[in-house]
């Protein structure tokens, strides 16, 4: 266990305004589409309108005849690629069967939007025209869209695999079946966690320039170094000759944690044509072929004693992987499973996971990646159990919380939670809520036809990805460890550049990391520049996702700065003829602890290191910079309590979120303002999934929600103001004590909403409604509960419009099963 070091904190902990913002608010920032490279060509992609078909023929003559069109390429042309697009997870002992995914289809398309050909030409208008002129003849094949249908293997997505099932994985601890047999109460339910989109407002974009044997790529990516590594593997270009730049990136949310077909296509075409090639994704493409998230059907069982002690939790997860694997696709439910017990002491747990192919686009990591799904099933089931037991859901949570004294706490899965104080965050949230007032309002509003409900979600999640030995090839099975790098360079004038391998897209690293480094070097964040997202400048990095940047990348920067500070102290001690132990950072200087007037500024120290070698201790290396790779000893486990209050129009079923209280704990704050921002955005993302957003395919595999008209991202009108507070429980896993916060809001949000809606509707006889809680679904749930539910039901995937399939309103069995009673 690492000791938390007391650091001089001058800038850390302050809500410093962001260093990033002046360029962003003035329109001077540079995103991929803002970059022009001399001689640049444009690419458009011809995509399949069929969900499953054999490609009979491709006729590009019409396209090639258009003025300005340089080339049209198909899958056959790309036969010199050395590898298909990557999937980076293969856990020891688990057989994972996946189809190869090539940047352009080879003979068969397996989802709408599958890339069939690329068109390259002089300007973006003409390639758009030409893409329409490529005539592709398809021979349609049977389509399977619903994941549970696909499980039957009656229609195969990839004939050659012989099955749609990609893998089974079971992890667990204790004896779930025995615990269920002995329980007083067992609740069970089928939960659909529907397919969503990451939907960053900036779509993806790539420019590749292959020139004189070197490849430079600008990509809207979260993982520039991984992309460089992959280019080397796939195109056979030595890694030192590949440079990947992630310029300003307009949001990611996991959607840009991917190695994409278009990145390959631009690079390949640039090499072939000896010209830079640019591709900018349209929103319609983004909805169809930027990876989706969630999409699993969960069968859960929870067992408890009559006093509310939870004894077992079991989830059978059927994951819809789509037509192929993305970079991390099969890992997503597993990542969630690592925190399947949430904040609770549950001795017997098991997760059974089955990956299943369908004729839809791939699913992969979207904000939270497995943890929102797991938290959702746990937290809604807790509420169901409370209802079954006739117990207050808050009391039930309190009863089963892991106590503060139990940390470090080893879960039945062998995961060690670093620290936590769950009851405190829940108590604080309740204080902010005023439950008595709420129940009074609930009663009076009901008379006006407004059904008010309150829902809770207490979560802990696993982030700070990740200890490399634990997750690497011989551990969890990832193709690479997830350490992070930092290079801190003090310039001769005392200003500082920090290079980080993290690759932000809105998080504010330039500010937060500058605060951390400035404090350690006795300088001001305004003269600390943080450079990220360029493989040519800093050391190897792993990128930004999984709420990892601060607790891995930030700690790397802190450690590098601390090492430099030691060197600075030695230089100062030498010059003051003092003992190095007496030198501290005091008021912006390295000064004598007992006599702070005696000291040197960082600029003066840098002057010694670079300009006047005689001011350096004998034998000390000149210069002032430090490269460091930090690999954490454990994950970190942020936690918190969220409360959602909804008002439902009893006549229409429309749900409005009227209050949101979030009390989160991500350890000591580096910049509280940035934490709040992450919580706001994360919760909004969860509200989006719970109430508005759903990627819908019809029964023929056609994408119904292909634009922002149909894919309902919430606007300012749908999102409430947030009431936030924090507690600070340091993580013993790193010297800053910090945890992650980027995904916490999203992880916490959806069950709080569902629980609130059910709280509002329970007196009507509704016990559960699956997301998204659209007006139609809620109305149908009410109708059914009132005995009038004979109309068509709201949708799941793969059902013909408009009568989209079954709803699950009020349908969950709550009868105890095998109860000893």
């Amino acid at each position: 266990m690492t000791t938390i070091q007391e650091q001089p904190t001058k800038h850390v902990g302050q809500s410093l305004r962001r260093k990033e913002d002046p360029r962003l608010v003035t329109g001077r920032a540079k995103y991929v589409d803002d970059i022009v490279v001399h001689g640049m060509l444009h690419m458009a992609v011809v995509r399949s309108p069929e969900a499953h078909a054999r490609i009979v023929s491709i006729d590009a003559s019409g396209a090639l005849a258009l003025p300005g069109i340089k080339a049209v390429y198909t899958g056959e042309d790309l036969s010199d690629l050395l590898a298909p697009l990557p999937m980076a997870w293969a856990p020891p002992g688990v057989e994972v069967k996946g189809p190869d995914r090539w940047p352009l289809a080879r003979g068969e398309v397996c989802h709408v939007g599958d890339a069939v050909a690329m068109v390259v030409g002089d300007d973006k208008h003409v390639v758009a025209d030409a893409a329409q002129c490529v005539v592709v003849e398809y021979e349609p094949l049977p389509v399977v869209v619903d994941v549970e249908e696909a499980l039957k293997d009656e229609i195969l997505v990839h004939e050659s695999l012989g099955t749609n099932t990609t893998h089974h994985w079971t992890m667990g601890g204790g004896d779930v079946d025995a615990a269920i047999a002995e329980a007083d109460v067992v609740v069970e339910r089928r939960i659909v966690n529907h397919r969503t989109a990451g939907a960053p407002i900036e779509p993806r974009g790539v420019i590749a320039e292959y020139r004189a044997g070197s490849l430079t790529v600008w990509s809207s990516t979260q993982v520039p170094h991984l992309l460089r590594l992959f280019y080397a593997v796939q195109m056979g270009i030595s890694e030192d000759r590949v440079r990947v730049v992630a310029p300003e990136v307009g949001g990611g949310f996991g959607g840009k944690l991917q190695i994409t077909a278009e990145e390959t296509l631009c690079a390949w075409a640039s090499k072939r044509l000896d010209r830079p090639v640019k591709w900018i994704e349209t929103r319609s493409e983004n909805m169809a072929v930027s990876h989706h998230g969630r999409d699993q059907v969960d069968y859960v069982r929870m067992a408890a004693k009559a006093d509310g002690t939870i004894t077992a939790f079991h989830a059978n997860i059927i994951q819809d992987v789509g037509a192929y694997f993305g970079l991390l696709t099969p890992m997503i439910p597993e990542l969630g499973a690592l925190v399947m017990t949430g904040c609770y002491k549950i001795p017997n747990v098991r997760t059974d996971i089955t990956g299943v192919l369908t004729n839809k686009y791939i699913t992969d990591a979207i904000r939270g990646a497995g943890r929102p799904e797991m938290t959702h099933m746990l937290e809604v089931t807790i509420d169901q159990l409370a209802s079954e037991l006739g117990m207050d859901p808050i009391e039930l949570r309190h009863k089963n919380f892991i106590a503060p004294g139990d940390f470090p706490y080893e879960t039945p899965y062998g995961i060690t939670y670093d620290s936590g104080n769950y009851a405190t965050t829940l108590d604080r949230a309740l204080e902010m809520l005023d439950m008595d007032a709420l129940r009074a309002e609930q009663a009076s509003l009901r008379e006006q036809g407004i059904l008010r409900g309150v829902g809770f979600s207490t979560y802990t999640e696993i982030c700070g990805l990740a200890p490399s030995r634990a997750v690497g090839p011989k551990g969890f099975g990832l193709g690479i460890g997830l350490y992070e790098s930092a290079l801190v360079r003090v310039h001769p004038t005392g200003s500082v550049t920090v290079f980080t391998g993290a690759s932000p897209h809105g998080q504010g690293h330039e500010t937060g990391f500058a605060q951390i480094v400035a404090d350690r070097l006795g300088t001001d964040p305004s003269v600390v520049e943080v450079i990220h997202g360029d493989t040519a400048t800093g050391p190897m990095g792993l990128g930004t996702y999984g709420s990892r940047s601060l607790s891995i990348g930030g700690v790397a920067a802190a450690h590098a700065a601390e090492k430099l500070a030691e060197k600075c102290k030695a230089i100062v001690a030498f010059n003051l003829e003092a003992s190095v132990d007496d030198i501290e950072v005091i008021a912006g200087k390295f000064a004598l602890a007992g006599d702070p007037d005696q000291g040197m500024t960082l600029a003066e120290v840098a002057g010694c290191a670079y300009i006047d070698a005689s001011a350096m201790p004998e034998g000390m290396e000149l210069g002032l910079e430090q490269t460091l790779i930090y690999d954490p000893s454990n994950f970190v486990f942020p936690f918190g309590a969220h409360v959602c209050v909804v008002d439902i129009d009893a006549a229409t079923g429309k749900v409005d979120v009227v209050r949101w209280i979030a009390v989160d704990d991500c350890g000591p704050a580096i910049n509280p303002m940035l934490i709040d921002g992450q919580v706001h955005g994360g919760v909004a993302h969860g509200i989006g999934q719970a109430l508005y957003e759903q990627v819908v395919y019809d029964d023929r595999g056609q994408l119904v929600t292909g634009t922002f008209m149909d894919y309902a991202l919430p606007t300012a009108g749908e999102i409430p103001s947030f009431e936030t507070d924090r507690t600070e429980t340091p993580s013993p896993s790193n010297s800053l004590g910090v945890k992650g916060i980027g995904e916490a809001g999203t992880i916490a949000a959806t069950p709080a909403i569902v629980n609130a809606v059910v709280d509002a509707l329970r007196h009507e006889g509704v016990s559960y409604v699956d997301m998204p809680l659209t007006p139609l679904r809620v109305w149908q749930a009410l109708e059914e509960a009132r005995g009038r539910g004979d109309g068509p039901r709201a949708s799941e995937q793969g059902v013909a419009l408009p009568d989209q399939g079954e709803g699950s309103a009020g349908s969950g069995p709550t009868t105890p099963e095998g109860g000893a009673a």
Partner: protein, 156 residues
């Protein structure tokens, strides 16, 4: 047309969208493109003082118009417009991609509202044509209200 106070003249194809004219011909890349159906508002700029989604306007339709983009909001000496300052002060942006459009929509909103404080509800309604995925809108609403207050202080 005049763009940010400067006269510009070009011969363009009819199908060239105003946003592409601003970005590709004039190099004013602060106006962004986020969708193709007039939903996201990232491309919002002012045409004759009113907010417009420049992805849903042909450049030729703006012939003779006064166009203001995010690049034209700060004063010549670099002093930020109160809305730009408000977004910075209140952490009203994260990735920054929606920000220029959001600020331009807010400019119309504040102008339309006139002097005096603007309610949270009015701000939320006023930016319903602009999507943000990062901020959850909370700080955007704060930023616009703060800026509106500041703009009200300046005598008209």
């Amino acid at each position: 047309m005049n763009v940010n106070g400067q006269p510009v003249e070009s011969v363009v194809a009819p199908r060239l969208l105003l946003v592409h004219y601003l970005r590709d011909v004039l190099g004013l890349t602060g106006t962004h493109v986020g969708c193709d159906t007039s939903n996201c508002g990232a491309c919002t700029c002012l045409v004759d003082g009113e907010s417009v989604k420049s992805c849903t306007l042909l450049a030729v339709q703006a012939d003779g118009a006064d166009v203001t983009t995010i690049e034209g909001m700060a004063s010549a000496d670099g002093e930020l417009h109160p809305l730009q300052q408000g977004f910075w002060d209140e952490h009203g942006l994260q990735c920054g991609y929606c920000t220029p459009g959001m600020i331009m929509a807010a400019a119309d909103l504040v102008e339309r509202h006139g002097p005096g404080p603007i309610s949270e509800e009015d701000v939320r309604r006023g930016i319903e044509g602009n999507l943000c995925r990062c901020t959850g809108y909370h700080n955007i609403v704060k930023a616009i209200r703060a800026a509106a207050d500041k703009m009200s202080e300046v005598p008209a």
